[in-house]
């Protein structure tokens, strides 16, 4: 019964991590790539780590809990730091319909329009 839960967690975690890597390959600029990296990769890693503790003892479960709590605290901070650095360096926004109201980054419009991605 326990192995069944572990298999489901591994399959779901691998699917989520595959989506994260696909987003990193396919999204056009940093700001959208952070979207795939920050959420999908963290969720996939958490599912994989939890899947490893299903048949294991309490020592593995304690370590996995520590790692997952630590990643949940640090991944958004790291993603914010990367986004802040890219914004300070005025990196180009390549997404269609990107809006930057300060007009700081090239490639984005300063006012949001009704038809996105036109």
């Amino acid at each position: 019964m326990g192995a069944w839960i572990a298999d489901v967690l591994i399959v779901v975690g691998l699917a989520v991590m595959t989506l994260g890597v696909y987003g990193i390959l396919r999204f056009p600029d940093v700001y959208t790539r952070l979207h795939a990296s920050g959420k999908a990769s963290f969720l996939g890693v958490s599912l994989l780590l939890v899947a490893g503790t299903v048949g294991g003892g309490p020592s593995a479960a304690a370590r996995v809990l520590l790692i997952v709590v630590l990643l949940a605290l640090t991944t958004p901070v790291a993603a914010h730091a990367i986004a802040q650095a890219a914004y300070h360096r005025r990196e180009r926004m390549r997404t269609a319909g990107a809006v930057d109201e300060s007009g700081r980054c090239p490639g984005a419009t300063t006012t949001p329009s009704r038809d996105l991605g036109a």
Partner: protein, 92 residues
């Protein structure tokens, strides 16, 4: 099942490392490197579960801490050319 997971995650790690090399700007490189390290953490977790040892999880914990510190320091350096700003010399 753990073997298939390890194999597929190794392929994903290879793709993430290739995307580190293919990134156009340094910030994109940082994003790809962060994802590659997260995949390495997941790979260590699967190896620990498959071999029923916990020392790979210790390595994963250290890797998570190190990845966070290195990413924040590198992006702070990328943003305003020094890793840590002091509050009194923030803006003249």
């Amino acid at each position: 099942m753990f073997f298939a997971g390890i194999a597929w995650l190794t392929v994903l790690l290879g793709v993430a490392v290739v995307s580190v090399g293919r990134a156009r700007t340094t910030a994109e490189r940082l994003v790809a490197l962060d994802t590659a390290v997260l995949m390495l953490i997941g790979l260590l977790g699967l190896v620990a579960a498959q071999s029923r040892r916990t020392y790979a999880l210790d390595a994963a914990l250290i890797l998570a801490l190190l990845s966070f510190v290195s990413t924040v320091a590198a992006s702070r350096y990328l943003g305003d050319r020094r890793p840590f700003t002091e509050p009194e010399e923030e803006d003249p």
